[in-house]
Symmetry: C2
Subunit: 277 residues, 2 copies
């Protein structure tokens, strides 16, 4: 199948190579000629283009791997070039606003399906791309009433081809609630933890736990500030629920209350163990 991948960053280039390995023809689009050259030279795409308009009439699927706001402005710019019957999809980490906007924007004979491949690295750029990051990861499709079974099936097949372990369906609203906890809150915590450190010697005395907990404090500020703000209401709620729980530990320390500490530790141990299975 002919697929356009718009945005040849870490995820875009990884998806492109994964699709290419599965026999698809992949047209990569980027405004950065270096990214195109890199992807062509390393055979991550079939062919590169700097103008999105050129590929829209060639492809059955258009996959955006750019910031949500960029996807929307590109769609507005090229709105007349989308071919009837095209399936448009994305990789955004937030869905409610984005899916609604894209479905409103596109003509009725062009279908948008939101997809969130839950994989990534703390690097940016095609040089760090690797289709193996998808192996074993979660892939969430966020359908709405406007989607057709055939388009959903097509995106599901792509998820399977890319090697995702688990393919789930969630409404865009439910997706954003979930992601506020499992992804955005964890990033907020890691950032706050690193930034709260006032001691210049800390890094001489870290163990594995600190390193693991703060790996995601290395974060693309432009992208994540957009994702955070797109999902701000859910994220504020999750931060507050987390703060309440941390306050329980703090109060127990203030009151020398060992029983409460043990209760909290036993609860988290039991709950987290279910994830090991």
């Amino acid at each position: 199948m002919k697929i356009a991948v718009v945005g040849l960053g870490l995820i875009g280039a990884s998806v492109s190579k994964g699709l290419l390995d599965n026999g698809h023809e992949v047209y990569g689009v980027d405004i950065d000629q270096d990214a195109i050259n890199y992807c062509e030279k390393n055979k991550l795409i079939s062919k590169g283009f700097s103008d999105m308009g050129e590929v829209l009439e060639k492809c059955k699927i258009v996959l955006f791997s750019v910031y949500p706001k960029t996807m929307i402005s590109l769609t507005e710019k090229y709105i007349d070039k989308f071919k009837k019957g095209t399936i448009v999809t994305d990789v955004s980490g937030v869905k409610k606003e984005v899916v609604a906007k894209m479905q409103r924007l596109l003509p009725t004979d062009v279908e948008f399906v939101g997809v969130h491949p839950m994989a990534g690295r703390e690097k940016i750029g095609a040089e760090y791309s690797d289709p193996n990051i998808f192996k074993g990861a979660n892939y969430i499709i966020t359908p709405t009433e406007e989607n057709s079974p055939s388009a959903l099936k097509l995106l599901e097949d792509i998820g399977i081809e890319l090697g995702f372990k688990k393919i789930s369906y969630l409404t865009p609203e439910r997706h954003d609630e979930m992601i506020a906890f499992t992804s955005q809150l964890t990033h907020a915590i890691a950032v706050a933890l690193v930034n709260s450190d006032k001691d210049p010697d800390t890094y001489n005395f870290t163990g594995d736990s600190y390193r693991e907990l703060t790996r995601i404090a290395m974060i693309n500020g432009d992208l994540w500030s957009e994702l955070f703000l797109e999902n701000r209401e859910n994220l504020i709620d999750r931060i507050e629920e987390f703060q309440e729980r941390l306050d329980i530990i703090k109060e127990a320390l203030k009151n020398n209350d060992r029983k409460t500490l043990i209760t909290e530790f036993e609860k988290s141990t039991k709950k987290r163990l279910t994830l090991e299975k």
Copy 2:
């Protein structure tokens, strides 16, 4: 050298095997006969004892690998059996109170040196022991004015033999300040994060970041509640500093303040990158 290791749990058995591999004679002590049998059968110790009194007169070094309070009560119980010139050490994750108490308790011709090997696993028991957990990890010696250069050198040599990458000296007070941040705060955060989750479906939608961040939420409640309370003042301060920093992110979300989010993300990225080197 003849070394007594008191407490054949995960750390005690790992240390024992590491010392045995370096040619020492290791006498393992535990009240649990099954632990002794396991360690003897798997050649993790030279010989096992259920009564600590029996080994005190044989050994140059006595290494406690039990909870801080248990070390103190065992020392009180066997106080008359410690041989002149013995070096006593431990593996506790908190130092200020523990080192002061042990140095006060022991006779002047028996020397206590605090050591914190910064390694561990989310499992308990000799069955999960592995001397490789020390390879590449941090090893902190916490001397006081009462320690002799020769005893410190002895403990340093043991750290080297066990394969620790970095051996540091910190006062017990400074150690506890540091560990409140790099170890205890991270555990408090992981526990609070897991316990704040109210959604039964969460575990179907986790990525690597959530799994890494919450690994240490599987925690030995008896041990860690003791460690937390022994270091409560430092830990309360670190929790509050972390909360202030998380509030900055929360307020930025409430105010739709992208600039502050980007500033926080750039700061954490830059700071955390120094740990990658």
